[in-house]
């Protein structure tokens, strides 16, 4: 047994780290570190940098523009990005649609859309959830009715992340109502600027605006925008849900967050004691660090299995549950460590007037924002159901 990365992998990490630290603009990484909002330009800037290195579409095969990395290399890359406080890649085009087109799309669709994802001409968002159907995709109601060479779409999508920046949306729509609810769903690409598409931001608990509602009123879409077969969209949805999710645990982010906590705890004093020396904080941090170290290895074990093609699907659900628990607990601890200072909505104040360390100023809003981790991407309850189904299979 050998937990070490190979010499090549270690060299890869060194190279990646140097490039990221060299190229990532400080003002962007500061925003990420401090939990402040990123602009569209910030994200485009970073994605353009990665694209220049051919590191943007890390899960695509080399012939479509991917870097041709192993799952381990991808893992190392993701970890280094998190440790450097790089912005998260916008996954909808790069991690979701791209692989779908590569697996289910026509040659024309691949040739047209994939390069535009890479060079940033198209910003994709996702139209999956509906107001009445969150984790239960089979219940979705948005209709697409065939009219000659076009579909006419009516309905509503929601929780569309960063839709405000997008010019394209991929949607699951109902194209038939007979048979099982999973049947009759199709996967369709829609130009956001089509007449009848309306995007409305949803303000979140922390005041951020990162998700949207999307309304479709008689939106006409050419049938060539169908991906895969009509009424077989469920297959694509399932493909994406069980698609390789070895990065789902967010170990890099948790590592960074623990580091942030330790730095803060060593700085701030409460009632005559550094938070780092307060045994109640110190024990929680020590135990969380043990959990994280275990999670790191759990993740590597799954990576190793994925490398050899032996990964079981339900184990990525375990990664998601425990990984998000650790991330949320770290946010919790970080917020708590600030004591009364966490109550200030510090975006209102200029830095130098505050008694709060600048990187901690948004601790509470970021904590609230991170509650989403256990809700989206299949809530942790859904993940538990998936694992239970596997465990209690007859």
């Amino acid at each position: 047994m050998d937990l070490d990365f190979t010499a090549e992998e270690q060299a890869f990490r060194k190279h990646v780290r140097e490039v990221i630290r060299g190229e990532l603009p400080r003002e962007i990484s500061d925003k990420v570190l401090q939990g402040r909002g990123l602009t569209k330009e910030d994200i485009e800037c970073w994605q353009a940098i990665l694209n220049r290195h051919g590191w943007l579409a890390t899960t695509w095969p080399a012939e479509f523009g991917g870097p041709g990395w192993s799952v381990v290399e991808r893992h190392i890359f993701n970890e280094e990005c998190a440790l450097a406080s790089a912005p998260r890649i916008v996954t909808f085009g790069l991690v979701m649609l791209g692989p779908v087109l590569i697996k289910f799309g026509t040659k024309e669709q691949q040739d047209h859309y994939l390069p535009r994802i890479l060079d940033g001409r198209d910003w994709w968002c996702q139209g999956y959830s509906e107001p009445g159907a969150g984790s239960d995709l089979a219940g979705l109601k948005t209709r697409a009715v065939r009219d000659g060479d076009t579909y006419v779409i009516n309905g509503q999508k929601t929780w569309t992340t960063l839709g405000q920046h997008a010019n394209w949306i991929f949607c699951l729509v109902r194209t038939a109502t007979e048979g099982k609810p999973q049947d009759g769903i199709s996967f369709v690409l829609v130009d956001v600027n089509s007449p009848g598409v309306e995007m409305r931001p949803i303000k979140l608990i922390d005041g951020s605006k990162e998700v949207n509602e999307v309304f479709f009123t008689d939106v006409r879409v050419p049938v060539t925008n169908l991906v895969g077969e009509e009424n077989k969209g469920w297959t694509i949805a399932k493909y994406l849900l069980t698609h390789e999710r070895t990065n789902i645990a967010g170990v890099g982010h948790s590592t960074k967050d623990l580091e942030k906590f330790r730095k803060l705890a060593a700085e701030i004093e409460r009632d005559g004691e550094k938070v780092a020396d307060n045994p109640l904080y110190a024990m929680r941090a020590a135990e969380l660090e043990a959990d994280l170290e275990a999670m790191r290895v759990t993740n590597l074990r799954l990576l190793a299995d994925a490398s050899s093609g032996a990964a079981e699907g339900h184990r990525s659900s375990l990664l998601k549950i425990k990984g998000t628990q650790i991330r949320q607990e770290l946010q919790n601890l970080y917020r708590s460590a600030l004591g009364s200072a966490a109550a200030l909505d510090a975006d209102d104040l200029s830095e130098n007037e505050l008694a709060v360390p600048v990187e901690a100023a948004r601790a509470a809003p970021v904590y609230f924002n991170h509650r989403k981790l256990s809700i989206y991407g299949g809530s942790n309850e859904i993940q538990r159901n998936i694992v239970a189904k596997e465990l209690f299979r007859e």
Partner: protein
Amino acid sequence: MDFRISEERQMLSDMLRRFWGNDPMLEARNAAVYEAPYQVPGVWAQLAELGVFGAFLSEDEGGFGGTAEDVVVVFEEAGRALSAEPLLGQLLVMRLLAGLGRADLLEEMVAGATRGALAFAEPALSVDLSRTAATAARRGDGWVLNGRKSAIYGGPGADVLLVTARTDAGLGLFLLRDAPLIEAAMVDGGGIAELVMEDLAAECLAEDAAPPVEAALDLGRIALCSEAVGAMDMLTAMTVDYLKQRRQFGRPLASFQALQHRVVDMVMEGEQARSIVIRAMASYGTPDQARHVAMAKNLLGRVAPHVAEEAIQLHGGIGMTWEYPGSHYAKRLVLLDHQLGDRRDHALRLMRMCAPDAGAVSRPVTARTPESQTA
């Protein structure tokens, strides 16, 4: 033993619930309290009319209440309504002024014409007043203050600021008007302020006020805990309603046993929270005050954030939205633990009280057993 509240308090409670108890009020709240002036226009005066501030004083002091029980009644309703009005600051200041016999100011405060806030916390001071770093010094006939105060709840717009600072005699209490506050919104709504003092002239109210400040803060903690109980009740009820209405996989979410059991735990924590508040309230002013208040703040600091997190999770995406009232309740329930000492601060208080050399190893079974009463 009687857990019923008096008729007068029940009337106050009912009045407040009627006054606050509707959705448009919550909408007005969310529209107003996340930016200056951090209050819903007009509400403060109406609270005065309803007698809320009179409830903070005894008849001798110019009110009609003045006990911990009155405070609990008011703050539970504030919690149910998610009010972000600066009641806490007003309470703390009124109790301190009452102890000092400042009838002049109290009369204005009962009427709602004057608002107060207390500046006791500092960037490195949470619950241990002996760590106060701000200093007061005589300058001519008066006093000047130096240092930094933080977490001044209800500071923005306050007419009267009471400030703690070290004197030769102990912990002095000072009065400021027109203090140069740095103002901000709280993450869960309402105003908060910091204060940087550089030879700031102030009126000295007392050269050593440590015991009354401690007492006022413990009452403030009871108030916060009661507020949490009200907010938890509401958020749990909202969660139950949501699970009943919302269907997934062809059946109501309420029918999923794993979710049911988690809601039962929320309800149980709500009951425990209510109980510990009753205990702290009943102990207020007795030798058990510090211990039971610390227990209450510690227990609420554990269960209120848990209820908040569970409520968000059980709601799913909708619980994450600004538009849904539950998200604001959740924020309040978490941020309460950041006020007047958190779960861990109060655990440390308890640990100190329970340490073997503190002589508090065994405890009476009831508030007052026959033995302890005769002792």
